[in-house]
């Protein structure tokens, strides 16, 4: 065993890259669930985003436009979910699962002719002074733009939910949609907005895998990241800052266990492989999970 071969700075840096897809997708789902909607289609929206990201960035030659296209793809898929569950009042669990299956198939179809496509390089941040700082530079200031967008979004969502009136209304809709409706809030409209925000975030998360982390297109390449994102929302108690912790913890232990394997740590590989899941669940459970929004997953119609 040679633990000295693990460079903690590089480890921290790759932790942020490995966590970003889950963070983005989970953040979107958090807002959706706080509005009282359970969308199990995160995996489907992510993989569609991954495919759309490749398509848009290859066709336009610009990675940022790829991300925009991915957000649009995720958003459109979630719009479908919103129409089905909010207008046609279908069951949210069944519709969400169907959305995942649909997304997996759709992305395979869309991405078919892009298997050999190489997305354009995504520029990394290079600030004159900050990037050259001895320790903080490589860890914090040499990433690509999406890592920072993910972090900014966490803060923005936290501020929105905890500090703004609009956020309060969204939470009210999620806690008790009938009361919110009685107060005159447009429950369905607000939920449409939340669902589409969730879709766009999931799309971004998927595109981060296909444009930055891998970067190329392979069918089913999200490989369950959407389900991890869903789980992290629950374990984080529907709180944005804990969600950040959960996502970084999961990404961090995932990267760490690969590094430990490479360093030849004398722990059976099976335990190392399961460690990201165990560590994330343990820590977030010990932090005492929050309470689920009162109307989560329930169907709303103004006539009831």
């Amino acid at each position: 065993m040679d633990l000295s071969s693990i460079n903690p700075l590089l480890l921290l840096a790759s932790l942020m890259v490995a966590s970003t897809p889950i963070l983005l997708a989970a953040l979107g789902e958090l807002v959706v669930e706080r509005a009282g909607v359970l969308n199990l289609g995160v995996e489907g929206m992510m993989i569609t985003g991954a495919a759309c990201g490749i398509i848009f960035s290859t066709l336009t030659g610009n990675a940022w436009l790829g991300f925009a296209g991915a957000a649009l793809g995720g958003l459109m898929l979630s719009f479908l979910f919103a129409v089905l569950t909010q207008v046609l009042l279908s069951n949210q669990v069944a519709t969400g699962l169907a959305l995942t299956l649909f997304g997996l198939g759709l992305s395979a179809l869309l991405g078919q002719s892009f298997a050999d496509a190489r997305p354009p390089a995504f520029p990394k941040l290079d600030l004159p002074i900050l990037s050259d700082l001895p320790v903080l530079g490589p860890v914090l200031f040499r990433h690509d733009g999406m890592v920072y967008i993910g972090l900014l979004l966490v803060v923005a969502v936290w501020y929105f939910l905890a500090r703004t009136r609009a956020g309060l209304v969204l939470r009210a809709v999620g806690e008790n949609h009938e009361a919110a409706h009685a107060l005159g809030y447009r429950v369905v409209l607000i939920r449409f907005g939340a669902i589409m925000f969730g879709g766009a975030c999931a799309g971004l998360g998927g595109a981060y895998i296909s444009l930055v982390r891998v970067p190329q297109w392979t069918e089913g390449m999200t490989a369950g990241a959407g389900w991890i994102a869903l789980a992290i929302v629950v374990f984080a108690g529907w709180k944005p800052l804990r969600l950040l912790l959960g996502a970084y913890l999961f990404g961090g232990v995932t990267v760490l266990q690969l590094n430990l394997q490479a360093a030849g740590l004398a722990i059976p590989v099976e335990y190392l492989s399961m460690s990201p899941y165990v560590a994330t669940i343990l820590v977030l459970v010990i932090l005492a999970a929050g309470r689920a929004p009162g109307s989560l997953g329930k169907t709303f119609h103004a006539s009831r």
Partner: protein, 361 residues
């Protein structure tokens, strides 16, 4: 078989029937089934099986019809897919992943008239053949190149699922890397999957960050190549497919699976009614394992050595597992000059001396 059908399908069918071959009454093309573990555009393993399958179809033209299912999970789902293919009238079904072994045996027992060909497994039955390629021959050449090319003396290895085939590859590569470079060490990461681009990319990055400047992979995607390309100065090898889009750097050579001749051969055997259960294991000599163009990033003398080794293996003059070889505990399992037999190779579940760590069980 009814008499009318017998007359209609003519002499071939009569001949086959006389031999008691499993031929069903049919007028259309013969249906050939393929069960794939990944998507047909994975750039590696499954893509090459599919490519070979299509070559087989081209060879036979309208006489065969290709039926395939991609991204089939290794487990009960595979049985469902195979059963469906049998019910559709497939006469021969190729199941192309190690994990399809038991499902293949189970379904084969239910459909004695259908013949099965399972890739990389070891269980056979009256209507189940197994076939595999001697990938370890290619691994020997990769190991040689890795040992010669590495500057840091650290070679990374992204291992997939802990089965003998993968362990054999690691051993073969290691033996030949050590032979040319006594200081070389291997860092091995198991990801427990055949195809997971994100994990493969993470694993490649972890290996590169720990100083590996050669990364070998036994996984199916090109993600490690992309990671190596970004890092710069890291050498990789194409797996299952040539992955030439990453040549000359980082990809400096590759192992190419060429299944087409075997597929043509076996489908022909079913048509002729001469099919019988066999255990096929072919290497560079027979053409089932191809060594991709060694790129210009490799110095000429190293390239010549690697090509000489390739030719020696192909001609049967050199066996990658030639003694003296010892396992991790220091026990000699092949004496001086002794060559490993297929039984030893097929069940290889130990590392050779010099590799650190344990194989996950």
């Amino acid at each position: 078989m009814k008499r009318r059908t017998l007359v209609k399908t003519g002499a071939t069918a009569a001949f086959a029937a006389a031999l008691g071959a499993p031929l069903r009454a049919q007028d259309g093309p013969m249906k050939v089934g393929f069960v794939y573990v990944g998507p047909i555009n994975d750039g590696g393993w499954t893509q090459h099986h599919h490519h070979s399958a299509k070559e087989m179809v081209e060879h036979f033209g309208d006489a065969v019809e290709l039926v395939y299912q991609e991204s089939v999970p290794e487990g009960p789902d595979a049985e469902r897919v195979m059963t469906q293919m049998c019910l559709q009238g497939c006469q021969i079904i190729f199941t192309t992943s190690f994990g399809f072994m038991d499902p293949t045996i189970n379904v084969a027992a239910k459909f004695p008239d259908v013949v099965f060909e399972h890739a990389t497994g070891y269980k056979t039955a009256d209507n189940v053949s197994v076939y595999s390629a001697r990938f370890y021959e290619g691994r020997a050449i990769q190991g040689h190149l890795a040992g010669r090319m590495t500057q840091s003396n650290k070679v990374g290895y992204i291992a997939s699922v802990p089965i003998p085939e993968v362990v054999r590859g690691i051993n073969s590569a290691f033996i030949h890397a050590r032979k040319v470079n006594p200081d070389v060490e291997f860092k091995i990461i198991w990801i427990f999957e055949w195809l997971n681009p994100a994990k493969e990319a993470d694993a490649a990055k972890a290996l590169i960050e720990q100083g590996c400047d050669v990364v070998l992979q036994h996984t199916d995607s090109t993600a490690p190549h992309a990671a190596a390309k970004e890092a710069g100065g890291v050498y990789t090898f194409g797996q299952a497919a040539d992955m030439a889009e990453f040549a000359p750097m980082p990809r400096i050579s590759s192992i190419i699976d060429n299944w087409a001749p075997y597929y043509i051969d076996r489908v022909q055997a079913v048509m002729d009614g001469t099919w019988e259960s066999v255990n096929t294991w072919q290497g560079i000599g027979e053409g089932m394992v191809g060594i991709g163009e060694i790129s210009s990033a490799v110095p000429d003398d190293v390239k010549a050595e690697a090509e000489a080794m390739r030719d020696a293996i192909a001609a049967g003059e050199y066996h990658p597992f030639t003694g003296p070889l010892t396992d991790q505990s220091g026990t000699e399992f092949l004496a001086e000059g002794e060559v490993a037999d297929d039984g030893l190779l097929a069940g290889m579940n130990f590392y050779v001396e010099g590799i650190e760590g344990d194989i996950p069980s």
